[in-house]
Symmetry: C2
Subunit: 333 residues, 2 copies
């Protein structure tokens, strides 16, 4: 096999055929004896969830993950937080001419492993090659299809006193990726939290009642995602700064460089809003999973003022938080 | 609104929010009051078709279409040739910093128009922004979900004498795009055939029986797609050069530059293999549609030799055709 991707790998001819056969089919398996334009799948229900995400992360390999692992976990998580059980993924690659095929193999292996772990099947793919300088290595789109399960789901009916839970430490992904770029001039022993959360989130949906909403705080971080929930449902959300789990190393880098962990990207965390009655049970279940071991209740819902996110500082002051504004970091996912 | 895309349009914060609201939601409509991580859709059946495609075409606007029109029609066609009725699309954008927002609006409008024409709904989207020089304008992934209809479909059961039909002139897209780049040093009055074929293909599936397979000859052209069918199903396919519809202008450019129209990309053509008995009826129906007005029977299936595509030349010689090998043209779709 060739060592580098050439434009001919994207022309739909002989080399494209071999690339698909030797790299993709061998990693993802070939459900049909023949590869058609569209994959036929049978769903367990008529009500399904669909999501799409493109991944342009730089660097493509980083502590705790790769663009391949992220492309699967990220889309799996978008389905899982919507309350659906992830079932199928498609993947579309845009590859720069000259990209090492050994790296492509690593990425595809990471995708296959993460798909296996989260129980999803990759059913369709596409590869395009662009000239040197027209992309930066590889970009991957994954689109996910999930199944809504009867009797399980998020109610979207909020009440005063509902608890806001985060499933673990925030900002790990942001700091891991930024330090991996080598542009900050510092190193930090922080791994990305990149992980599929579907099994953990299915457990809390199955074993508790009273889940109001789940979201994954990726780009824009915890604060931006909570602002979106507050605005979309006209809620006032109060969070306590001291209750938010942040790794010491992440705090350290943030202090040094003036970043706010509340706005750093996460790729293996969920925000869960649940009735006050069930909050402890949810935390207890989350902590049984390695991805949820640092889960914590960080705040609650009040309806005093509409559509606002308020942060209570250690000194008791309340600060109004807004969406991330102005780029902190491009290509974080 | 801003004039150019900046990195902040991709950071998941305030500018991303406004871009989605002002460009995408306003064009595609917002099915849910709130934009979630995943769109909930209800399918008419449990058996669905899924396909994905990334579009990196250069230039993004060309005679007869744009990357937006193509991104919808291309994926609609992949579903339609599989025998499914296209229902939902997702779209993922990778945009280069500095890209004019006016162009993005044009692209999104083209997508909305083509979606309306083909009867599909765009249900989920994603936007990533990469630094100047890390992409060439804009790349779009679309993933399509279609519904298999009971009693309608392709049998995949081939017999000697089955007819090979092409729904119109070949090579139009390839020549339109290549001349639009201005690199050939010539101009040609050829429009891309870029179009959604689902309504036309549904008509032949509904009104005839005996359709064996349908495929769209995009990258790699008519010859590559027929070689794939021949190999996948171990058929010998015979086609007659004089029967293949090619526009005079396309012939002209090919003769001048040494291209073979059999290997040029098409974006609004289908290959249909049908029983000998039904072939005339299929052509008759195809010709009722503007996209099918030049439909023609170009060959037939024999089982004398397995897995081969043979071209009968005007002088009666038979030439063995293989897949496209070596890049003719990158970024044709």
């Amino acid at each position: 096999m060739e060592t580098y991707i050439s434009l001919a790998h994207g022309d739909g001819g002989e080399l494209s055929h071999r690339l698909i056969r030797d790299i993709f089919v061998s990693a993802f398996g070939d459900k049909n004896a023949v590869m058609f334009d569209a994959a036929a799948i049978t769903m367990a229900t008529h009500k399904i969830a669909v999501t799409t995400d493109s991944f342009v992360i730089k660097p493509i390999f980083f502590p705790g993950g790769s663009i391949g692992k992220l492309a699967v976990a990220g889309t799996v998580n978008d389905l899982a937080v919507s309350g659906a059980k992830p079932a199928y993924l498609t993947c579309g690659f845009v590859i720069e001419e000259g990209f090492p095929i050994s790296n492509l193999k690593k990425i595809v292996t990471d995708m296959a492993n993460e798909a296996k772990k989260s129980g999803v099947t990759i059913v369709a793919g596409d590869t395009k090659v662009v000239e040197r300088g027209s992309a930066d290595g590889v970009y991957i789109n994954t689109t996910g299809i999930g199944v809504y399960q009867p009797e399980i789901g998020c109610s979207l009916e909020f009440a005063e006193g509902d608890a806001v839970i985060v499933s673990g430490t925030i900002g790990d992904h942001g700091i891991a990726v930024l330090t991996a770029r080598g542009e900050l001039g510092i190193t930090a022993p922080v791994n990305s939290d990149c992980a599929s959360l579907n099994n953990m989130l299915e457990a809390i949906l199955k074993d508790t009642s009273g889940i109001k909403i789940m979201r994954d705080p990726t780009r824009g971080g915890l604060a931006t995602t909570l602002v979106e929930i507050a605005e979309d449902f006209q809620l006032t959300i109060n969070i306590q700064e001291t209750a938010i789990p942040v790794k010491a190393e992440v705090h350290g880098v943030c202090d040094l460089l003036g970043y706010d962990p509340l706005y750093l990207a996460n790729e293996g965390k969920a925000i869960i809003i649940v009735s006050a009655k069930e909050k402890d049970k949810v935390v207890e279940i989350l902590r049984k999973f390695p991805e949820g071991k640092d889960a914590a209740i960080i705040g609650s819902i009040s309806s005093k003022e509409k559509g606002r996110l308020l942060l209570e500082t250690p000194l008791g002051a309340k600060r109004l938080l807004t969406r991330l504004s102005g780029t902190m970091f491009p290509r974080i996912c």
